[in-house]
């Protein structure tokens, strides 16, 4: 009884810490809104006000957005906070933060199902984990998707005793596909593992429920699968198979060997299949590399992690090794097998996409690794308790101090260094620019806004809180012929295009928003134009220059 109360106190403390890490300064922590966040937010705003997305589609499941056809659930999740707090960074990000807190609870519950007694340790790792904290602090669909995945897994595990929950589990898994693209690959695989390991008794004893759940799942995901055809262009851009080995390299190899590229020998030993296989495996292994997990995290995309911090703390590495060795001998084989399968599956979406390493698409991996680290920490503590008391307390405090030092290192990186080092990655300046322009442009003169940093229209809509009704009627997306994201060229008095100053300077009565290179100081002739303001990033570089012509 006393133990239970202690556990509860510890868990509530963890939750408070976890909530604080996810909510403190939310929306105002030096990580400005990214394109997708602004789009999710504005579409939520649009749906809340008019029942339709920015293009006037009534209650869409999939948002056309930039032509990338985002699964729409996150926008719906943001509606309550946008109604309550208005359209702001905070209200867009709140659903993700709340999902982040729910994830801590779910990890506790799942771990207790799989490895009774370890829940507290795994949720400890998850609470402080840089990977989970990072993606809970901005509007990442992946984070909401992860919450649904975990909910689905927990409900499935519960359904072993209460079969009725299977239907809820199916709904939760269905929702993952409505939330995030990668779920199309991970969710079916996770469901397959669950069913393969524990499905048989359910199938035999509650056949009807099993079938019902299957139909519910199919019913939910069918629209998204059907609409997948329209988003295949984006999928092609993202796929690693769209980037084959350069022809020159293949030619060189064939020449060295003195054979033709069409010969059987070439295809057997050096075919494109080998290059593709190596490419996928390289990406796959990158997600298990020390560099990714402990040293610097996602080194390919600045905004997907904090500078010089791994996805896990160094000490988690120790826990992982212990956890691994222990789990292999664990008597509850199915739990261990499930955890290993989960770990093996998780990096697949990231490994099949073009980026060399990608922490969002691999976000699923953060959970099984946290659970495994929790197992290791638990075993380590059990081993330490057997030591003489002084040694036990000594080791324990050293480990705890080292762990929290690392947490401190991460928070310092997130709150102090990321806003400076990653200000360009986080597109610093859009907010300040849009606010400044709407302040000075009272008479609704033409505004020409550069496309250099992508999707300026969505920021203009978001920060000026443009009435969705007014926008819907003029929304036109120019599709990208390569299948990647398209762009919007104009709305109202805004024109979105890159600036060519030698010509554009002739346009009178216009506001220009461009980069430093597009609007060089020496070419701003004071007779025709003036610099209104330079929007300067925290690292001192100029994000945007606002120029007015007379």
């Amino acid at each position: 009884m006393k133990n239970l109360r202690l556990n509860l106190t510890l868990f509530v403390t963890l939750l408070i810490i976890g909530a604080a890490l996810r909510l403190w300064l939310l929306g105002n922590d030096g990580h400005p809104l990214l394109w997708d966040e602004a789009a999710l937010g504005y579409n939520a705003y649009s749906i809340a006000k008019t029942g339709a997305d920015e293009y006037g589609v009534k209650f869409p499941l999939v948002l056309k957005s930039f032509g990338d056809y985002k699964p729409g659930l996150y926008s719906y999740a943001a509606i309550p906070s946008i109604i309550k707090f208005g359209l702001s960074e905070f209200s867009v990000r709140l659903p993700s933060a709340i999902a982040g807190i729910a994830i801590i609870i779910l990890i506790y519950l799942i771990t207790e199902e799989l490895f009774p007694g370890v829940g507290l340790f795994s949720s400890f790792v998850a609470t402080l984990n840089p990977w989970l904290v990072h993606f809970s602090r901005a509007a990442w669909e992946a984070n909401l998707c992860l919450m649904f995945t975990l909910f689905g897994i927990w409900l499935f595990l519960q359904a072993r005793k209460k079969p009725k929950l299977l239907v809820l589990s199916a709904i939760s898994f269905g929702l993952t596909l409505l939330t995030y693209q990668s779920a199309k690959l991970t969710s079916p695989l996770i469901i397959f593992c669950l069913v393969a390991l524990w499905g048989k008794p359910l199938l035999v004893k509650s056949t009807k429920l099993f079938l019902l759940s299957t139909f519910v799942l199919i019913g939910i995901v069918l629209p998204i699968i059907l609409s997948a055809a329209s988003s295949s262009g984006r999928l092609t851009v993202m796929s690693t198979f769209s980037y084959p080995r350069p022809e020159a390299d293949s030619q060189k190899i064939a020449l060295e060997e003195g054979i033709s590229q069409n010969s059987f020998q070439f295809k057997l030993l050096h075919g494109q299949w080998l290059a593709s296989l190596n490419g996928v495996l390289e990406r796959y292994f990158n997600h298990f590399s020390g560099r990714f997990l402990f040293y610097e995290g996602d080194w390919d995309n600045g905004r997907l992690g904090s500078p010089y911090v791994g996805q896990f703390y160094w000490l988690d590495g120790l826990f992982l090794v212990i956890g691994f060795v222990f789990l292999i001998k664990f008597r509850e084989k199915k739990s261990a097998v499930f955890l290993f399968c989960w770990i093996i599956i998780s990096p697949l979406p990231a490994a099949l996409s073009r980026d060399i390493v990608q922490s969002v698409r691999a976000l699923n991996l953060s959970v099984p690794i946290s659970i495994l680290a929790g197992v290791g920490a638990y075993r380590l503590l059990l081993a330490m308790v057997r030591l003489p008391k002084i040694l036990y307390i000594g080791t324990f405090s050293v480990l705890l101090v080292a762990y929290f030092w690392n947490v401190y290192y991460y928070l310092d990186s997130y709150f102090v260094h990321a806003p400076v080092l990653q200000s360009k990655d986080w597109l610093y300046g859009y907010k300040e620019t849009v606010k400044r322009v709407s302040e000075i442009n009272q008479s609704a003169q033409q505004v020409i806004f550069t496309q250099k940093f992508g999707q300026p229209y969505i920021y203009s809509l978001f920060y000026a809180k443009v009435d969705p009704k007014a926008y819907q009627s003029q929304a036109v997306l120019t599709e990208n012929p390569n299948g990647d994201v398209g762009y919007v060229e104009k709305f109202a008095n805004f024109r979105f295009r890159n600036i060519y100053w030698p010509e554009d300077r002739k346009l009178g009565k216009t506001f220009f928003v461009g980069t430093e290179e597009e609007l060089p100081t020496r070419d701003i002739d004071p007779k025709q134009s003036k610099i209104i303001q330079d929007i300067v990033r925290p690292d001192g570089s100029i994000a945007f220059r606002i120029v007015e012509t007379y």
Binding site: L268, N278, L281, F285, G290, F294, Y308, F324, K329, H417
Partner: protein, 550 residues
Amino acid sequence: MRKHHFILILVIILAALLRLYAVDKYPSGLNADEAAIGYNAYSLLETGKDEHGDSWPIVFKSFGDYKPGGYFYLVLPFVKILGLNILAVRLPSAILGIISVFLIYLLAGEISKLSDLKISRVKFQLFAALILAISPWHIHFSRGGWETNAATAMLLAGVLFFLMSFQRKFMLIISATLFILSMYTYQSTRLISPLLVVALIIIFRNQFWPPTRTLIFSSLFSILLLIPLGLVILNPTGLSRLSGVGLLADSGPIARVNELRGQHVTLNSFSARLLHNKVVAYLFLFGRNYLDHLGGNFLFIKGDVIERSRVPEMGQLYLIEATLLFLGVIYLAKNGGKGVKLIFVWLLIAPLAAAFTFQTPHALRSLNMVVPLTLILSLGVCSFTKFLQKSHKQNLIKTFKLLLIFGYLWCFTHYFDEYYIHYSKTYPSAWEYGFSELAQKLNRYASDYDRIVISDTYDQPYIEILFFLKYPPDQFQKEVILTPRDKFGFSTVRNFGKFEFYPIVWDELKNSPNTLIIGTQSDIPPGVKLIDSIYFPNGQPAFEFAESST
């Protein structure tokens, strides 16, 4: 003769074929370290002194990098018998590579005696021998005058005799001698060897209590043997090598520390110093370097980045071994015993020395990883076949066995193709190709000129010329002047006899009287009349010969 003896002999013959076939032609060329080993051995034979005039040194000054002397003395008798040529330098390493295959067979036997592996001992031994025999990592470093391969063979023998000493006490002295010899042979083993001995003593501590006479005698004997080495290492010049290639030679972390401190409000506040300091920066870097060696990309996809230490399109191990390694690790973790512990601990110790240096992952310095890895792979194969045997579906067993065999055959064929066909063409200058041809041509041209200037583009040309011309050592010892070290800690020799080694500056040299200028394609301006050329295996020019105009 029993069946497994017969198989072992076949495996050893295979190992010998793979290590000896055309070993003087592949790798194509002779690298500067090999040339230095050969010429110093030659110099000792002729004059009793090394190239710099030191009598029978323990460490060779060479390029100012103070090479451990063990391998030089191994090469000595071969140079005596075969003369100064490529074969004589490479043969000892190749022979030790073949012996290693036999040694790992014995070691696997000792290890299974000491653990509870639940698999056929003979199978484990034979697969270990076979996997090492065809291991690309081990073959690569057996084919070339690599000190590291000799040192690894000594480590392997040292561990083997250590384990055998539990039955025959006197073998402990042999073991101690071998461990210490490995420290006289290669830099990395100076760290690995003592660590491994400490680990062995800790793992098998009950064998040594109460201390036996042999133990005390071996310890005293070891200390005696270590005194000369200690004197050399503690000498400042002995430490200099580490300062050139050591972790601390990379100044990146210090720059980062300063950058990050700069972003704090108060530059040298307690928290800024607590988070961003040299100790932390280098500790993290060390952690990353270490884990790089255990990463999938190094082991299976990309391998070492240094062209001399790798073949194109390959990792350090075969691709198919990724699955076997995974199975092996799981099996290892599952089954207890002290032998098992030894394999794990060795694997963890093996990359330590390489992680202390700044080019990582480094296949050369971490070569001794190949021993524990091979043992684990062998366990992987054995556990795989054992697992298959449990199944009663004969077809399934056959399919998987065929998959394994064909997988290995493909990997092996691919490696062969890369090694013999592509290696010298893709990385033409990796092995300083062309100097033996150059020396032949110099024999023809040298008497016609007063001065011969050779480009220093290819590493250490002076030693190559000495080697291939068999330049009289007594004469060279009188002429040698070593330049000051560069930033990596290397020196070179700029001239001897009528030969000079400098970057080619054509405009200065063209007016030098009666001079032969030998440079790369980019050194000699187009339009200058070439009197001779030497080509790489891929047809690109390696050296071009031109005369000065006067």
